[in-house]
Amino acid sequence: MSKIKIATDWLAGCAGCHMSLLDIDERIVKLLESVEFTSSPVTDLKHPPEDGVTIGILEGAVCNTHNVEVAKEMRKRCQILIAIGDCATFGGVPAMRNLVGTQEALKRAYIETESVVGGLIPGSSELGEPLDTVTGVDKVVKVDVFIPGCPPSADALFFALSELLAGRTPVILPPEYLKYD
C-alpha cells in the first residue's frame, strides 16, 4: 500500500504549531509507517508536490498577499486541508493588528520602537503586501478540518490525523482536545 502524502506550511505563525506536530514524539514513527511528509518548512522540499497530496496542513494567519498565495497553492494541491492553531483558525495573535490597523502596527514595529534609530518599514516584492485585516485561513480558501489551540496539543493533532487515516470524517474533536489558547 502506498503511503498517504502530507504537506505542511506556515503563514503568519510562530512555528509553535509545527513544534506541537513534532511533539507527537515516538508516535510519529508509527505514523510514518503509513504517511509520508513531502514538503514542509522543516524539510528540503518547500512546495507541495504538483501531483498533489492527500492532506495539507497550514499553520498561521493570513496577513499578507504572500500568505494568500501559499494558502491557495496548498488548497489546490491537497484533498483535505487542515488549519492548525488559533492563527490559522481565527487569526490568532497576528489578528491583534486588526485592533490598531496595519499601518499603525507597522509604524510602531519598525519606526517607533524605542531602540530604533531612523527606522523604515520594509517593502519588497518578495515579502508580499500587508493586508488591511488579518484573518484565519478559511477566509481565503476552503478549510476541511480545524484544530484550534495556541498551540493545539500534540494529542489533538495526533487524534485528528489518526481519524483521517482511519477514513473517519468529519473530524470532531472531543472537548478535551479543544482549546482556544
Binding site: D86, A95, M96, C150, L178, Y180
Partner: protein, 601 residues
C-alpha cells in the same frame, strides 16, 4: 404546598409550581448550560443558550425563565436543542473579537467553556474584524467591549444588587453597547467602582487591571475570609498565587453581603502603596534600629514595669481581631491601666432597643438614617438601603453634616429636628433605624421612643468597634498624663485620628504596633511590625454582633506578626501568660461578647 411532576430527559421530578425549567433540571441533576443567567440576578432569557424542547410548544424555550407545569415533558439535550445552542454560540462568537490567546478571561471564561462543550472549532460566520473600544478610565478595572457578549449581567448587577443604576445598553442590534450613564466614560460616570459588574461578567469584557494575566482560577488558591475595611464584615474570597494576593472577590455564600463588596474591600487595600514595617525597631542613639522581637518587646515591657499605672496610656485601632482586643483588655486590667482610648469614635449606646440585622433593611418601609453616612463609610450597607428605596421604602435622613444618602431621601432633617423625623417613622409599619457616631446625646432619648416599633442598626465607625467597646477599650483617653504610651495602630491611616497625638509629651516612651511606616512610627521608641488583613487569622465582630472568621491567606511581610500574637508576647514579658491556644482565646472573647449582649448566633 402542592407540587407538580415534570419529566426532564426521562427523569421525573417533583417541584413547586412556578419553578423554572432550569431549577427543576438542577433538582433532577441535569446541567443545562447558561450564559446570561446568574445565581444572584433575576433571569432574563437574553442569551438563549439554555433553550430546551418543551413538548407541545412550537418553539424552543429558554429554561431560565420558562416555568414548569404539571405533566410537562422537557428535552434538554435533543439534536434540535444542541443545534440551536451551537447556532447561538456561533453567533455570539461572530459578534465581537474573541481572540482567546490574549484575553484575560481565557481559561475561566464561561463562553469559552461552552464553545468547548459544544465543539465549536472555528467561526461559522463572518466576523466583523473591527476593533471595539476599551475603556480604561477607571482606576482599578477595565472594560473591553471586544469581549462583551451583551448578556446584561453587569447591568442587572448594578441595578439589582448595588442599586446604583449606572449601566445600560445603548443602540440596538449589532451596535448595542454596554455603557455608563448612557454614554459616559466609566471613570467620569456615576460608577462607584464597587466591582460587582466585574465579579458577575462571564467573559473577559470586564477585568481587574492589577491581577490580569497573573493566574486563572485553577492556578490560584482561594481562601474565604472576612473583609476588615469597615464594620459590616463582608464575606470575601482571597485569591492568591505563589504567596501573593492577586484579587479579592465577594463571597456569594456569605450571609452578610451575599457576594457584594465595595471599592475599599475589593480594590483599595490591594493598591495600598504605603511602606511596610518589616522588622521590630528600637530607638538607639537617636535613630530607630532594627532589633530582634525579643529586644523590642523587652524594651517596652521594662518601660511599662518601671511606670506607675497612671502614667501608662493605651490606644487602639478598632481594626484588630476580637482575640487581640480581648487580650489587650485583659492585660490592661491586670496592669491596672485605665487610660485607654480607641482611635475612632463610636455611636452612642441606645438602651432597650431591638438590634436588627443588615437583612432587615430590605424589610423596612421607612428607613431612618441618623448621623450615619454609609455611602462613604460602610458602602455595602448603603447598597442595601438603595435597594430598599428602589423597592419603595422611604428614606429619612437626619444629619447636620453633608450626607451622601441625602439624594435618595424622601425627607431630610437637621439633628435638632430629629423629633419630627421620629414622628414620621413612628407611623410606618416596619421602621429600620440606622444610626452612627453623629447622633448627639441629646437625640438619644428621642430615638429610643421608637424602641417598640423599630429595629436598630448601629453603623459603627471603624472596624471591630463593638468588640473594642464591649471589652472596655474606650475609656476616655487623656494624652497629657501619659508617660508610657502603647498604640495598637495596625493598618490605620495617619490622618483624621480621633486622638491628638501631638499632645503626648516629648519625653513619653511610645511603643507602636504598626503595619506601615508613618509619622507615628517615626516618633516611636519601639515599633513592632504587624501583619495586615490578608496575613492574620482570628475573628471580627460586625455591626450585627456576628462573629466572623478572618483567615490568613499569605504569610506576613518580613517579621510581622498578627495582632493577637504581639499582645500575647508582650503579656508574656509582663508576666501575664495567656496559656490557651488562639482558639481558646477566641472562645473566651466570644463569651465576653455574649456577656456584653453583643454576640448574635
Amino acid at each position: 404546598m402542592s407540587q407538580v411532576i415534570v419529566t426532564i430527559d426521562n427523569i421525573e421530578v417533583k417541584v413547586r409550581p412556578g419553578t423554572t425549567i432550569l431549577a427543576a433540571a438542577k433538582e433532577a441533576g441535569i446541567d443545562i448550560p447558561t450564559l446570561c443567567n446568574h445565581r444572584a440576578l433575576s433571569p432574563t432569557g437574553a442569551c438563549r443558550v439554555c433553550v430546551v424542547e418543551v413538548e407541545g410548544q412550537r418553539t424552543l424555550q429558554a429554561a431560565c425563565v420558562f416555568p414548569v407545569a404539571e405533566g410537562m415533558k422537557i428535552k434538554t439535550d435533543s439534536d434540535r436543542v444542541v443545534k440551536a445552542r451551537k447556532l447561538v454560540l456561533d453567533m455570539i462568537f461572530a459578534e465581537r473579537n474573541h481572540f482567546c490567546p490574549f484575553c484575560e478571561a481565557s481559561g475561566d471564561c464561561e463562553l469559552q467553556n461552552l464553545g468547548y462543550r459544544y465543539g465549536i472549532d472555528h467561526w461559522a460566520y463572518e466576523t466583523y474584524l473591527k476593533p471595539y473600544p476599551i475603556d480604561a478610565t477607571r482606576q482599578f478595572f477595565l472594560m473591553d467591549h471586544n469581549r462583551c457578549i451583551l448578556c446584561g449581567r453587569c447591568i442587572r448587577a448594578c441595578d439589582e444588587l448595588v442599586g446604583n443604576h449606572t449601566l445600560g445598553l445603548r443602540q440596538r442590534g449589532t451596535r448595542s453597547m454596554v455603557g455608563a450613564d448612557t454614554d459616559t466614560p466609566f471613570g467620569e460616570s456615576t460608577c462607584i467602582s464597587c466591582g460587582t459588574c466585574l465579579q458577575v461578567c462571564p467573559t473577559g469584557a470586564i477585568f481587574d487591571g492589577r491581577s490580569s494575566y497573573m493566574g486563572r482560577e485553577v492556578q490560584t488558591e482561594h481562601i474565604k475570609s472576612t473583609c476588615s475595611q469597615c464594620s459590616i464584615g463582608c464575606g470575601i474570597e482571597i485569591a492568591t498565587r505563589g504567596g501573593n494576593v492577586l484579587r479579592v472577590k465577594g463571597d456569594w455564600d456569605a450571609e452578610v453581603n451575599k457576594g457584594l463588596l465595595c471599592k475599599k474591600g475589593r480594590f483599595e487595600k490591594l493598591h495600598d502603596g504605603r511602606k511596610r514595617v518589616e522588622v521590630p525597631l528600637l530607638r538607639q542613639g537617636g535613630g530607630l534600629q532594627a532589633v530582634s522581637w525579643d529586644q523590642a518587646l523587652k524594651a517596652t515591657a521594662e518601660r511599662v514595669k518601671e511606670s506607675d499605672a497612671e502614667g501608662v496610656g493605651v490606644l487602639t485601632s478598632s481594626n484588630a481581631t476580637n482575640e487581640a482586643l480581648y487580650m489587650l483588655s485583659a492585660l490592661t486590667r491586670e496592669m491596672k491601666v485605665t487610660n485607654i482610648g480607641l482611635l475612632n469614635g463610636v455611636s452612642p449606646g441606645l438602651s432597650g432597643i431591638r438590634r436588627g440585622a443588615l437583612a432587615d433593611i430590605a424589610k423596612g418601609d421607612v428607613i431612618l438614617a441618623v448621623g450615619a453616612d454609609p455611602v462613604r463609610n460602610q458602602p455595602v450597607a448603603s447598597f442595601l438601603i438603595k435597594r430598599a428605596v428602589d423597592k419603595g421604602a422611604r428614606l429619612i435622613v437626619v444629619d447636620d453634616a453633608d450626607n451622601d444618602l441625602s439624594c435618595l431621601a424622601t425627607m431630610k432633617f437637621g439633628v435638632p429636628d430629629v423629633g419630627r423625623a421620629v414622628d414620621v417613622a413612628a407611623r410606618a409599619e416596619n421602621t429600620v433605624v440606622i444610626y452612627g457616631e453623629r447622633v448627639p446625646s441629646s437625640a438619644v432619648g428621642t430615638l429610643e421612643t421608637l424602641r417598640q416599633r423599630a429595629v436598630f442598626i448601629a453603623l459603627e465607625p471603624g472596624v471591630n468597634t463593638q468588640a473594642a467597646v464591649a471589652f472596655g477599650l474606650k475609656n476616655g483617653f487623656k494624652s497629657s498624663a501619659v508617660k508610657t504610651l502603647f498604640v495598637l495602630f495596625g493598618e490605620e491611616q495617619w490622618d483624621g485620628m480621633d486622638v491628638k497625638l501631638g499632645e503626648i509629651g516629648e519625653d513619653a516612651f511610645v511603643t507602636v504596633v504598626s503595619s506601615y511606616i508613618s509619622p507615628l512610627t517615626d516618633r516611636a521608641d519601639v515599633v513592632l511590625p504587624m501583619a495586615i488583613w490578608s496575613e492574620r487569622s482570628g475573628t471580627l465582630t460586625n455591626v450585627e454582633g456576628r462573629v466572623q472568621k478572618v483567615r490568613a491567606a499569605v504569610y506576613p511581610e518580613g517579621e510581622a506578626k498578627p495582632d493577637w500574637e504581639i499582645i500575647s508576647l508582650l503579656a508574656g514579658m509582663l508576666g501575664k501568660k495567656f496559656d490557651e491556644s488562639p482558639d481558646k482565646i477566641s472562645d473566651r472573647a466570644i463569651e465576653a461578647l455574649k456577656g456584653g449582649g453583643i454576640h448574635r448566633e
